[in-house]
Symmetry: D2
Subunit: 310 residues, 4 copies
């Protein structure tokens, strides 16, 4: 029997890949997985209202269907900018209401889970927390899909076991994310391991996306890595975009400008098409320009309907 | 200015190494750091009462001054034995009362902190949680020394920044632990990086100990690695000992028998002496045979006097 | 000034990538580099006449323009099959005469250079010899393009410096090859570092190709890695193909069957086209079916015209 | 059966470690291996006559029994100082005649073997050539002990297989050398893997020495690493010493001054004694002050008696 019976491809009916549903009735839903390519984009950290709204509308215009942005940031140094916290969450909620884009944001502490779940459509586990088993267990009890990033030196087997933790605790909506591993090479921040994509596809039914930004650590090679990820079969991308990378409080050197991101989107669509897949488009979502921004009450209902189960 | 102003050697008066006090009034105290060598030993996991008491008395007889043992175990698989939890903590308390050895045990979740602090004399942060910044921050507010293990692929700078997290939140009693890093070599579970010892000694005033057991992953080379660690200047060792390694529920292949541990202790004492250091001996502690086991009330007072600050 | 003044992109007129000419008047020539995608394929080792000729014709039929095959094989063990040596070279010459495909084969010893040059159209430096500086210097004095593979743990800077060795000794016709680096991951034999492609393209004017076979060490993920390499901008591929991988004397698990290779070629052509590049086709070559096999004399002239300079 | 039948410990009579004889009738002989600790020291490169003689006499005075020094230097860049070549060999011969210390020096090309053998008492294979199988095979046919350094990312199994190459070609006098492996850590040039010592001792009968200089890449931690290596059971050390490290043409940052080296020697002798071993002392050698320098004819006889067999 498999070491990860819930995550194993063999455990899926007819060995078919599964799809993970993201979004909400309010803003629209879509599926991550087989047959589609999903792009999530946004700043590393939520730094303020203007930059976040500007980025949200820009990445939506280019074709992203989810907005990423960190309110709680794990940083190596206690003296670095660690995010706006609750204020960041509030800004993400506003950005969703304004742009219609569902939110993916990181959770770094099980004790924050309730407040993050009130805002986020998808919960991200960062590389440094991939084996924070207490957090994984807590995420297993939450009604939100989880984006699980590979640890800096985690084997693919360990990544699958980390997904299994979440699934074994009750939440089977897990999307895996390759984001580079630590090696001796210094030309890049990490070494993007694109072999992970086809290897994982042979092992698990869970969707697999790629984060070229954290892997590269430099903006000038992200577009070719994104193209390579899609060609390798990735189900989507997670890309850092900032309206002014030079002024970013974190990860500036690896952030694309909106126009660089637009070029990236134009380049990957035909590669997805070559393999019979389509990019999930924002047209599946409701949002600014499409529908009126939801009322305060509707937003409150959205939050309460998805709170952490008691 | 240093990136880790609290941990930096330069921030210590006269650039002298600091010492970290461990133990309690009830069972006795000693210092970890300059001039001494401290050995902590015990099983990977607390598996039951008999094995724990047997190990505690055996390692004390050989010269260990702290008992290690996991009640909450981080394991790669959700289906592996993850420790006895609260029952394990109770057994550790009993083992301390019986042997007089202070306890070092791992904390994996900030929400468990109060119950672990009630029993533990020193709190261990495991390699997989070295960058669990929420946990580090919580440990900064606790009145217990912390044993911080290096992450599987953490640089020494990142280890120092993780210590700085704890210190910046108020707890300056941190001991660093080298336990092997992940490399391509498969003859050992990890690669013990003994360069870490002299490098850290040049960078920080915090004590540095070495865990040869997790580095090697095999019992047959632990004694020479322990000797090498002391020769390299380590302030102590953390060694896995099990009365019957073959039957261990975790880490059996790397656990020493009590007699192998006894031989290890005999080998390292003269190496410590060569560098003008002495092994901290159990005679500094009170315990079974030396004093009567403390009453239930005294043990309760011990726990309440050291609880997590509100 | 650059550490590799000859290899640096900045040293190329108008910072344009250079092209490396491969082939001969007898069998036809083509360029490796900008605007084209070149595929080299064949068995790891030349094992015998039939398997070599069968593979040569098969890979040509699928669109490969060079035949790879080792006559001198570096193997970790002295007891493993180390190639047929001179007999292997003779078979490669016959395969070229029969198929019209130029030959790329490894040279492992400067003392063999003359005999290898007599047969090979391109000389391969294996990963284990990337810093065999005596060999690199010798290759600098030879009138043949060199395929330089990245060492198992070589940084990209070291790869460029190794190319600079060859160029500084007089031979500027160097093609770089990413073939995976050694990491902790065990799901693949090595970790293919596709970031190498765009990073090298920013640093050097030399063409860059990718060997997914040695990187993966397993046949089942080679097609997606090949597609990813082309999407990342690689100027070509080096792929192991064997008529019966299960019976291969070396590298069987990573060898494609001819029909798997045919599918790979069909998949990469449109990816090349998306980026405005065309696959170099065997129609640019003369060979079996196109021209009569060259006479023994013509073959002898071919060899002597390209011998190692005195 | 073992993959390295000649190198395996099991193949030694009574599973006893073997000893490798070094030196010559002219200058004296000693054994490397079980029961002794052998220290080789000297500059990275032979830079000139004065510095070499000064270093030779200094390291002999401190207790080294072999002089190291490179005449042919493998360097990552073709523009770096690559050694004095034949002039360097001549200076090494003079240093031996003057100090009485046998010479260990690197050979980087099988075509140089005859001239290096004419001077060297022991032939070093550098890390970058550990899998230069043509060179290993050539060394198998030479009447000189070989010092085989572990490759930058070689597994211990690959190191043993490289030794097996030399042995399978006829030369069983091989000494293994751990010199650090490549990892993500940047505080040191490489990561010294001292686990290699006890692991190799369990696998092979060949002596194992340690080079802390190349591992550390910095002088300030070499003494503790040297002590650790001896405590781990190493049969000797290879240490870089330079009369004026700041002016060194290569590896200055990791070179000890003669007085630092003297302190290192004083520190390791008692550690060797603790494990029942003795440092091989220069008193076993003849040399300056002990015997008159050998005549030109004697030196010529020395060279010819040990030339490469036809």
């Amino acid at each position: 029997m498999s070491e990860y019976p819930l995550a194993a491809l063999a455990s899926s009916p007819n060995r078919t890949p599964s799809q993970v549903s993201v979004g909400s009735d309010l803003y629209g839903r879509f599926q991550i997985g087989e047959g589609t390519v999903t792009v999530m984009a946004g700043p590393c950290s939520v730094e303020g209202r203007d930059m976040l709204l500007e980025t949200a509308h820009a990445v939506r215009a280019s074709g992203a269907v989810m907005l990423r942005g960190g309110a709680f940031k794990p940083r190596s140094s206690p003296y670095a900018f660690r995010g706006l916290g609750q204020e960041g969450l509030d800004l993400l909620a506003e950005a969703r209401a304004s742009s219609g884009l569902p939110i993916v944001t990181e959770v770094v502490d099980a004790r924050q889970l309730e407040s993050v779940v009130a805002v986020a459509d998808m919960l991200q586990v960062g590389a440094r927390n991939m084996q924070n088993f207490a957090l994984l267990a807590a995420l297993g009890e939450v009604n939100r899909p989880v984006l699980l990033k590979r640890g800096l030196s985690a084997t693919l087997k360990e990544l699958l076991l980390a997904a299994e933790y979440i699934m074994a605790h009750g939440n089977t909506n897990v999307v895996l994310c390759e984001r580079g591993i630590r090696t001796f090479e210094t030309a890049t921040r990490n070494t993007l391991d694109l072999s992970a994509v086809p290897v994982l596809k042979l092992e698990t039914h869970l969707p697999v996306i790629v984060d070229p930004s954290h892997a590269a650590g430099r903006a000038d090679i992200i577009a070719p890595l994104a193209a390579a990820a899609i060609a390798a079969g990735a189900d989507g991308l997670l890309v850092e975009v900032h309206p002014d990378p030079k002024s970013a409080l974190s990860d500036g050197p690896q952030s694309l400008t909106p126009s660089q991101f637009d070029a990236l989107m134009a380049a990957i669509a035909p590669i997805a098409a070559l393999t019979g897949r389509t990019l999930t488009r924002p047209s599946c979502l409701r949002g600014a320009g499409a529908v009126a921004a939801p009322s305060r009450q509707a937003a409150a209902r959205h939050a309460s309907s998805t709170a952490v189960p008691a």
